[in-house]
Symmetry: C2
Subunit: 517 residues, 2 copies
């Protein structure tokens, strides 16, 4: 089950099929595998020994997939770099992971000097571009042209395949280890749950460094199907590409889907090849979902829920998007545990809570990471009795449908009632003057914790604290509405754009006994 | 990925679904899991420690599946007994495997004393029946009633799950080791290739001790679907059961399917629930396949090829059974390598042969056994460079379709041409007077090897050697026809009913340099 197996199988069964489409470049499996075997040889010649990490800092391209397969083919370990990070964050992860070879594309070339200057070991930098490599860098294309192909290192299933960095809202980023086995199992069990589309073509427009896109990459290689790659999300390009390449499968976050529908090209392009639309990050609300379904008649909608640490845990299948299911609210669920995955909802002591009760979602299965790279304490915190603790607050209905309500640490307990910050934020967010907002729990003698809101208003618009509270009361129960509202010009954000609630909470809890997180 | 995982998942998602149907007994997942947890406790109390083997010698029943899950739940290893074996063969396997607990049903009760008397360690015998247990035996039902449920031992993925005995045509039977991981991977990769039928019900009428039936058992548990169980194949019962239980999926060998079609009940029963018909052991010839397809309109036909050592290697999918595919001969193929499996056709030196050339089929993948139990020499012989050598002679066409032609060791090289004994036997077998036959290679100065036939005639019928040769010449090329024909009253058979060609060849090759096998 080493992760190059699907590539070998395709080389045997469909060598002349086009595997990657990027701009005007189309590579067959035969060409792709030849480039991979050469790049693997070049990486070995540059010092990549078995188990060594190789990074890539780049937008999506066919070369990104060549990098993935070549690292594995040569016996190395991928360390894809978060493209949303600043130089110091990138350097932290490369140092932590001891990554000595880094591939950089034109888009991120400007960061290369800064990385080399500050990394503990200045990496060998490979320029993945079409022109000649800048001074001091090697050329991806020249390496491939000059290297001799090497045989597949055929790593074992327990060997490390990738270290993906995650987090950033609670301290340093953590490297999530996935082995050849865990990535393969996470993909194949998903394929059993949601069969690959034969002869299909998957559009990749979300960044490959992230597990959401990368899971689709691995599955598509196991299945021996086709990758159509865009450097990043761009509504016009997505629509044009679907039409041109007769794409069968797309996957986005809900806001991107709205951007597609609202684009003037949406009705002009032929999207009839699309058979499946995957989405993640958050469910649709009923009204938006209904409108979206109307725009994609006959297309299967599937929501996926997972973490870098677990891969896909649950899928909300097409049938939970239909009218009858929507009336039961099932479209707001993330679905039921997939094949091969065990899910429980537990209280702080680790005991399962009754159905309908919120607790922490914990996961066990072959696709779950074995540990964080170099972080035994974080590993011990996340794993108890073999179960990965996700930090997500969720409940399960009588039929096993899972509903995610909030991050556990962001939940507020006020007057003995659970208040989910996400629910309060959704309510506030619907006020026309609110640009961004966060709901946190602050100490209260009367209530234990009280709901406190921090709000950024849209430029040129105004609202009072009482306006916000009044607005919330029309949408959610009184005990969930903010008791106090504070206006700011901006909110503290993490590298991936998440609000750092820890920083918002800290001043209120200084010297008190709540863990601020 | 321990193999009880699917049971836990079903217990959470569908506790009141019926999981096993046997005669008039129907058990829900809740009842089934409760019985399993109790039986696991009873087995532990009888001395089953982690990794200990437990045998079962029985026709199919719901209790067989309780045995499987209870052994795993309790941390043990299954050692299902071949129901076609004699007492000495059974004792050999129990001794070899050091199996100290044996479950026996009423059908095989008469063998229990002989086993206990001759086994190295007389096993604890558990009687799986409805009445009271015979003297000296424990009662399956009493054990379950009296034992307290124990928690799942939650074995690791590399732990042994089952030892299945195979072979017998070349010396002692060999115990094939499969771990929790290899059985799970073999099942889940098959499910990705051939999606489980949701809400489906699989009919089991082939013996559970064999990998063919057992693969379906494991997959159906991972998927959380239903098992409808018959003690053994009986055409009338199969037809009645399909109608009564609205079975969605059936699987047989081709001769059984012919028995179903020829049965008077075939046209009287409502078989419209059937959506998939799996078959194995051998392909259909075109005429029979065409007639069979007509009898099952709208049903997916899927042929599976595999070994105990590999689980399913390749499937010939429904589309290779259609008219256009039949005209290309694809219905005679076993299909292409499944997801996650690597297949090569190699010569004696291990080099891949060109497409269309016959060689030995070798396999690599997560579902392949790691070794034979206690047989390092056999293991070393079967595994070279990580590839399992199947002993099957096969070729691959340009598109990767695999055609099995013969066991490698049964192939005859005559005048520089390969002759496949199976092809010669098929031709001879169509002569009306031939009851059984075998084609072997014997030494020939002119041809290297010459095709020699050993024939058993039907009672009361006659044919001469020249009649047989004449008949063959109308069906196959001259060089493939037997040069000599020998008549006997019977052929030497193995425990599983295979002709022991080794014994037929031995007298001819004594003192010569061909390995007789």
């Amino acid at each position: 089950m080493q992760l190059t197996q699907g590539l070998h199988r395709s080389l045997q069964l469909n060598p002349d099929r086009v595997v990657t489409v990027f701009r005007d470049r189309r590579r067959t499996y035969r060409e792709f595998a030849d480039r991979v075997a050469r790049l693997a040889g070049a990486l070995q010649a540059l010092g990549m020994a078995a188990g060594d990490r190789v990074g890539m800092l780049a937008l999506n391209s066919d070369r990104y997939l060549e990098y993935a397969m070549a690292v594995w083919w040569g016996g190395g370990v991928m360390n894809p770099v978060n493209i949303r990070w600043s130089v110091p964050e990138i350097v932290y992860s490369l140092d932590d992971c001891d990554t000595r070879i880094l591939i950089v594309d034109d888009h991120f070339l400007h960061m290369a000097d800064g990385i080399s200057a500050t990394a503990r070991h200045a990496p060998v930098v490979i320029h993945a571009g079409d022109g000649p490599a800048p001074d001091g860098m090697l050329s991806f294309e020249t390496l491939i042209a000059d290297a001799a192909p090497v045989p597949d290192a055929a790593r074992g299933y327990d060997d490390l395949a990738i270290v993906m960095y995650t987090g950033g809202t609670t301290g340093f980023p953590k490297g999530v280890e996935q082995t050849h086995m865990s990535l393969w199992c996470g993909s194949i069990q998903r394929m059993a749950d949601l069969p690959p589309l034969r002869g299909g073509s998957a559009l990749h427009a979300s960044p490959f460094f992230h597990i959401a896109a990368f899971t689709r990459v691995v599955a598509q290689f196991i299945a021996g199907e086709q990758h159509v790659i865009l450097p990043m999300f761009d509504a016009a390009q997505v629509l044009e590409t679907i039409e041109r390449e007769r794409v069968t499968e797309i996957a986005f976050v809900p806001t991107m889907i709205q951007m597609l529908i609202q684009h003037p090209d949406f009705t002009r392009r032929d999207l009839s090849s699309v058979r499946r639309l995957g989405y993640g990050a958050s469910p649709f609300n009923a009204a938006v979902l209904e409108r979206t379904l109307e725009q994609f008649p006959g297309v299967e909608f599937v929501h996926s829920y997972g973490l870098t640490e677990t891969m896909i845990v649950a899928s909300n299948p097409p049938e939970n998007h239909g009218k009858a299911a929507r009336e039961r609210g099932l479209h707001l669920s993330v679905g039921r545990a997939g094949y091969g995955l065990s899910v429980r909802i537990v209280d702080r002591e680790g005991n399962e809570v009754p159905r309908g009760t919120v607790g922490e979602l914990i996961v066990r299965g072959a696709s779950v990471t074995r540990r964080y790279w170099n972080k035994p304490e974080e590993t011990a915190k996340a794993f108890r009795n073999g179960w990965m603790h996700t930090g997500d607050g969720a409940y399960m209905d009588a039929e096993g449908h899972i509903f995610i309500v909030d991050r556990i640490k962001d939940m507020i307990v006020s007057g003995g009632e659970n208040v989910y910050s996400a629910e309060v934020e959704n309510a506030m967010g619907r006020h026309p003057a609110v640009a961004m907002c966060a709901a946190i729990g602050i100490p209260s003698e009367a209530w234990g914790e009280a709901v406190h809101a921090v709000v950024v208003l849209r430029p040129g618009m105004t609202a009072t604290a009482e306006d916000i509270r009044e607005h919330c009361r029309t949408l959610i129960a009184g005990y969930k509405c903010p008791k106090t509202v504070e206006f700011r010009s901006e909110l503290p954000l993490s590298g991936t754009g998440k609000v750092l609630k820890r920083d918002l909470r800290a001043p209120y809890w200084s010297g008190k006994d709540r863990a601020v997180h």
